[in-house]
Symmetry: C2
Subunit: 210 residues, 2 copies
């Protein structure tokens, strides 16, 4: 069983949750499941789109990977101790990632101490205020924790997560599948350069996954 959660909150950014959930959801492996995880049964995006959650937050500890999406209300969530306590994440046994303002939540949880952090341009000052070191690049990962900045860096975060859980060839295939027609090779090359630079040596080289 491989269980992946994409944390999606009220005021969410559709690109930041659904590009990743789509790419992860298309991986064809036995026992592989992907769910939108939310604090309430339904959540509404910053553009008024209402979706039905697929997993409550109290099941996050059971996930093998948790990606935290972005949204217009992340600063409010980041100030709410009860909400932060509901994000039970453990980087010693889970693959964890954030997209754009999701980095603010990971920073508040103490998961980004001492590592370069990627986030979007609007969130950048708040993440710096939370004590993190923001870099001008789309993707960074250190060990089991990754951050991505700018909505369309979400395919890199999704591909890295797939590489960690299903191997680099599955990640390459996922990027190829969503890339624009006529630009696929160039896109996969760019995406995999971000992914492979940030994999533990054992993942990148594992013969069973190539």
């Amino acid at each position: 069983m491989t269980r992946i959660a994409v944390v999606t909150l009220d005021g969410f950014n559709e690109i930041d949750s659904f590009v990743a959930s789509f790419m992860l959801g298309r991986v064809d492996r036995a026992g592989w499941s992907v769910a939108i995880a939310s604090p309430t049964r339904q959540v509404t995006s910053m553009n008024g789109l209402t979706v039905t959650a697929q997993m409550p937050l109290d099941e996050l500890p059971d996930a093998d990977a948790v990606l935290v999406g972005s949204g217009a209300r992340t600063r409010e969530y980041a100030r709410d101790p009860a909400f932060l306590a509901s994000l039970q994440l453990d980087p010693s046994r889970q693959v964890i990632g954030s997209q754009c303002s999701g980095a603010l939540l990971l920073a508040r949880l103490g998961l980004l101490d001492g590592v370069p952090v990627c986030t979007d341009l609007l969130t950048k000052p708040w993440v710096i205020e939370a004590g993190a070191d923001v870099v001008d690049q789309p993707f960074f990962a250190s060990g089991n924790v990754a951050t991505a900045g700018g909505c369309l860096s979400s395919p890199y975060l999704a591909a890295w997560t797939i590489a960690r859980l299903a191997g680099v060839e599955a990640a390459r295939s996922a990027l190829f599948s969503v890339a624009p027609v006529g630009e696929k090779d160039e896109y996969v090359h760019r995406g995999m350069s971000h992914v492979e630079r940030h994999l533990p040596v054992s993942t990148a080289a594992a013969p069973g996954q190539r």
Copy 2:
């Protein structure tokens, strides 16, 4: 008033509907609205995500622009005369676009006759069977009708739609906003090269829009 509909059907592809609806939804202009348009009150994606529609299909004739998303069940929809009759589109007064398998629906409606068509690799044989001329590129537009192929060509389709309705600077700004941090200039350049190549001369050159 500018009203934009993103047609989203059961079995839909999240990237293909929501990248465009997000980018279009962030355009900051008075009277500008974007809605997910579906045949039923709720639709469920190919990955099991249920969303609540924001517009019924019978309001499509009131839209200034209609983008048709993609999905796992497009071939079924394309064979259903009652469904096809519910897509009341008029390229003489509406901006119309399709993403990936959405091209199959536009082809059945006779909107792609004699023009190069972009679609995804899976849909390509069915679009050819429907009589269209599929090209190996991410985006093409002729007059008021555009097609895009490969999930991540959706920002190009959204940017072209924004350029048509709000001008090229608004399109450039939309691409910049969603581009990966650290890759924004390169991304905007690539996206705008697709958009500007396919604009009517009047749109591209209109001084009020630059």
